[in-house]
């Protein structure tokens, strides 16, 4: 039997770059968690650029009233693909990239529990994204919005194959997401270094653990709905067609039963990233470690008790609306708890304003604005007034960009030296931060006003009503500022990879195990792992006289034994 020799990596990954002396096949065939993590991140960057270009075209169309730069059909395809891509192929792969790369490192493991399943998860996501984009050359992209409501998604109303590609693409990606989550759960529960109890696990890992259960509970609903829709469209079933005895509202229930947990799925890991970043750059332990975990669990459970607030305008009746208004108001509490955890962590700390920390502080402000506009939707009459207006667009972008993307960027600037072994240019990085934050606020703050003035979302153009033109123009200018900032980010990253200063293995004086490895980590993460006796094991190791566990265990008087070599500093072992 012929055998194909698949090149195994022999040296540690030199950088984030795809160029590798063993060729591209080595990347494609890789089951190494660091390589797969990096591929997730590159996939995310690729789709960020693509979905960003789509929305720039949309913003150009909206820059002036009565514009005819884009045809209505093209406009619908572009905003649908923008939303779908950003959620499923930018936010999710970026989160999974950091997770796949750092969870094993943070718990002292050498790889994921199921390395091949890990590769499978990545490649199904990749294939799902490719399939979604193949629709452009196969007769038209999906054009029914990212939540793809019935009956518009039915064959009678959308006969182009776009929706079929939406179903197939998201199904593939969904399968990849579920398998990845199983992998994370088993890795975290089974492959922690034996000394690390659950109560000492880094909060990022905790949030990933909670999030993985959330994914396992939420995604089956989406996957089932997509399969049902495919049956409707291809085999003339009528799950969502009222004419055949089905129910169009059923799609909304199934979608939001997934969709509301999904917005927490893309924010809980971000809370985890911030719970690493705030303590490190405030040089204090996290305030309320157990509260961060408890509120994370509360958020995950409540996610399934509030989804109907997306459907207040569908006519479910005052009884239903009343219950969900109450539960939706309550969900602000656990998120508020976390905000205060981070504020209290910063309070009295010796704060270092690195770019990572700048994004974290900006997040506190922007995400709170997004949270407050979100709470306003819990009040049913306000929801009726503002639903499907630009106020919703402003709200969700404050949450997704001010929350998720700021968190990912904070994580990127925090972990980039570890992943690449290079330091990005500080001055340019700060320029990027200010440009991006300014552009973001210019783009989306005004959209609150536009929505309150009654501008509906998803219209390809609008009449020249007082104020609409100028606010839309401001928004478009902001969008281009953000695009410029993203261009600068790509330049910063590429330049850092090629000729950035060599990064130290622990540039931030950090607390967790991933920083005990070299930058970038060797092919095999660890030979030995330092003792884990508190939530900040690396800090304990660096400052044995001031270790956290000594303060926790005052009664414990015995000196810890001296350990000399605890980290593997050589490449390629």
């Amino acid at each position: 039997m012929d055998t194909i020799l698949v090149p195994e990596p022999e040296e540690s990954l030199p950088s984030l770059s795809v160029s590798n002396d063993q060729g591209i096949l080595q990347w494609i065939s890789s089951v190494d968690h660091k390589q797969i993590g990096i591929m997730y991140l590159w996939l995310s960057v690729l789709f960020l650029v693509v979905a960003g270009i789509e929305i720039l075209l949309v913003r150009l169309q909206l820059a002036i009233p009565n514009n005819h730069f884009l045809a209505p059909e093209v406009y619908n395809q572009l905003f649908t693909m923008h939303g779908t891509t950003m959620i499923f192929f930018v936010a999710m792969p970026a989160i999974f990239g950091f997770t796949t790369y750092f969870v094993p490192l943070m718990i002292g493991a050498n790889d994921m529990a199921f390395p091949r399943l890990n590769a499978f998860s990545f490649w199904t996501t990749f294939f799902g994204g490719s399939l979604l984009y193949f629709s452009f050359i196969a007769g038209g992209a999906p054009d029914a919005g990212w939540f793809n409501y019935a009956p518009l998604n039915e064959y009678n109303y959308s006969s182009s194959p776009g929706i079929d590609y939406y179903c197939a693409g998201l199904l593939f990606a969904g399968i990849g997401t579920v398998t990845a989550s199983i992998n994370f759960v088993v890795t975290i529960l089974h492959y922690r270094v034996p000394a690390m109890s659950l109560k000492q696990m880094p909060l990022f890992v905790w949030m990933i653990l909670i999030n993985s259960f959330l994914i396992l509970a939420a995604f089956p609903s989406l996957n089932a709905a997509l399969a049902m829709l495919l049956l409707d469209r291809q085999l003339h079933a009528h799950f969502f067609s009222a004419a055949g005895g089905g129910s169009a509202i059923l799609w909304q229930h199934l979608f939001w039963l997934f969709g509301h947990p999904e917005v927490y799925i893309v924010i809980l890991p971000i809370f985890g990233i911030f719970s690493e970043v705030f303590p490190v750059f405030s040089r204090k332990p996290i305030f309320g470690y157990s509260m961060v975990i408890g509120s994370g669990i509360a958020i995950a459970l409540l996610a399934f008790g509030v989804w109907v607030h997306h459907m207040f305008a569908t006519g479910l009746g005052n009884t239903v609306n009343g219950f969900f208004a109450a539960s939706s108001l309550l969900i602000g509490i656990p998120t508020g708890v976390k905000i205060f955890n981070w504020l209290a962590t910063m309070h009295g700390g010796a704060i270092r304003f690195s770019v990572s920390m700048l994004f974290a502080i900006a997040f506190l402000i922007e995400f709170t604005i997004g949270g407050l506009s979100g709470i306003s939707f819990a009040i049913v009459p306000i929801d009726w007034q503002l639903t499907d207006t630009y106020y919703v667009v402003a709200h969700l972008h404050f949450v997704f960009i001010g929350g998720t993307l700021f968190g990912l960027l904070s994580g990127l600037f925090y972990w980039f030296p570890k992943m690449s072994g290079r330091a990005p240019d500080q001055r340019l990085s700060r320029w990027f931060f200010w440009l991006f934050v300014t552009g973001f606020n210019i783009t989306f703050l005004v959209q609150h006003a536009l929505g309150a003035m009654g501008m509906p979302r998803r219209v390809y153009t609008y009449p020249n009503l007082p104020g609409w033109g100028v606010l839309n123009l401001i928004s478009t200018i902001g969008a281009f500022l953000m695009a410029g900032a993203v261009g600068l980010l790509v330049y910063i990253l590429v330049r850092a990879l090629n000729k950035g200063a060599i990064a130290a293995s622990d540039p931030w004086d950090a607390n967790t195990l991933e920083w005990t490895t070299t930058s970038p980590p060797g092919l095999k993460n660890f030979d030995r792992v330092i003792p884990v006796k508190s939530t900040r094991p690396f800090r304990d190791y660096k400052r044995p006289e001031d270790a956290d566990w000594k303060r926790q265990e005052v009664a414990y008087t015995e000196k810890p034994p001296d350990i000399d070599i605890t980290q593997n500093n050589s490449h390629g072992e």
């Binding site: 034996p194 000492q200 109450a326 030979d527 003792p531």
Partner: protein, 274 residues
């Protein structure tokens, strides 16, 4: 409204159940602290309210939503209170055997509770239970008693009298979360079920006269939706409170791994991946 407040009905079988509970409580725990006595008498008061009071009357004859409140109170509040009233480490060997049995088979406790909950809401069983309650029958005690039993079984592995036989708090969170999902699904089915799925209340409106037929003027649809939603949304918060309670106890408990373990073996451990 005035007449509603006088609708107290004592069922002899239910009284017998309450007397038996009181007898057992004082037999099992002769010298329990005041806290446990408070738990116990709160549970008895709740059982009384849900089986004899105007709430019971409303639930039996007028409102599905009132009926659902009695279910939630019996299952999620009275049952756990009864279990917590036993106090830690009782001497009765029977309780230790139950604890040991349920510790190994916590899934059975989960299944029994969820099964009983779902069983009473199968539309034909639901309607049948009401027609069986007219006259001198054990049906009310079967109904309330089984709900109470479900509550007792359900929380036993979490707050049972023998602390060593409690399941791990994190497993407890999964235990509660999955029960919450099952409860939500049932609530969801009731909320969105066609209005004539549960005949009893659909028919009740026409059979009653005067103020008592519908004192708050709820439509049957709103009443059924409220019933489903009570099971769906507030129940979730009860389960969530349980999760946070377990988590608080887990963090408060001494972790054998924290600080006291000799560190040398841990340092040398290599987490080798096969």
């Amino acid at each position: 409204m005035g007449t509603l407040l006088f609708q107290w009905h004592a069922d002899p079988f239910v009284l017998l159940m309450v007397i038996t509970l009181i007898y057992f409580h004082y037999w099992i725990s002769k010298a329990t602290p005041v806290k446990n006595r408070i738990y116990f008498w709160s549970a008895i008061a709740l059982i009384g309210i849900t089986t004899c009071s105007p709430l019971h009357f409303l639930g039996m004859h007028v409102y599905f939503s009132a009926h659902m409140i009695t279910h939630v109170v019996l299952l999620l509040i009275a049952g756990p209170l009864l279990v917590m009233s036993i106090g830690p480490n009782p001497s009765a060997p029977m309780l230790k055997r139950i604890s040991a049995f349920l510790y190994k088979r916590s899934w059975l406790a989960w299944l029994a509770a969820v099964g009983i909950m779902w069983y009473w809401h199968i539309p034909s069983v639901f309607d049948g239970s009401f027609s069986g309650m007219s006259g001198f029958t054990p049906m009310p005690v079967l109904h309330a008693g089984s709900m109470l039993l479900a509550g007792i079984l359900f929380c036993w592995p979490l707050v049972g009298p023998v602390p060593e036989t409690h399941i791990h708090p994190l497993s407890g969170i999964i235990y509660l979360a999955t029960a919450c999902i099952s409860c939500s699904l049932l609530g969801l089915l009731i909320t969105f079920a066609p209005i004539n799925t549960f005949h009893h209340y659909w028919m009740a409106g026409s059979s009653m006269n005067g103020m008592l037929s519908n004192p708050w003027g709820l439509t049957p649809a709103a009443d059924q939706q409220a019933a489903g939603l009570i099971m769906w949304v507030p129940c979730c918060f009860v389960y969530l409170s349980g999760c946070l309670y377990l988590l608080r106890h887990w963090f408060a408990a001494k972790d054998p791994n924290t600080g006291l373990e000799p560190s040398i073996s841990l340092t040398l451990s290599i987490n080798e991946h096969e």
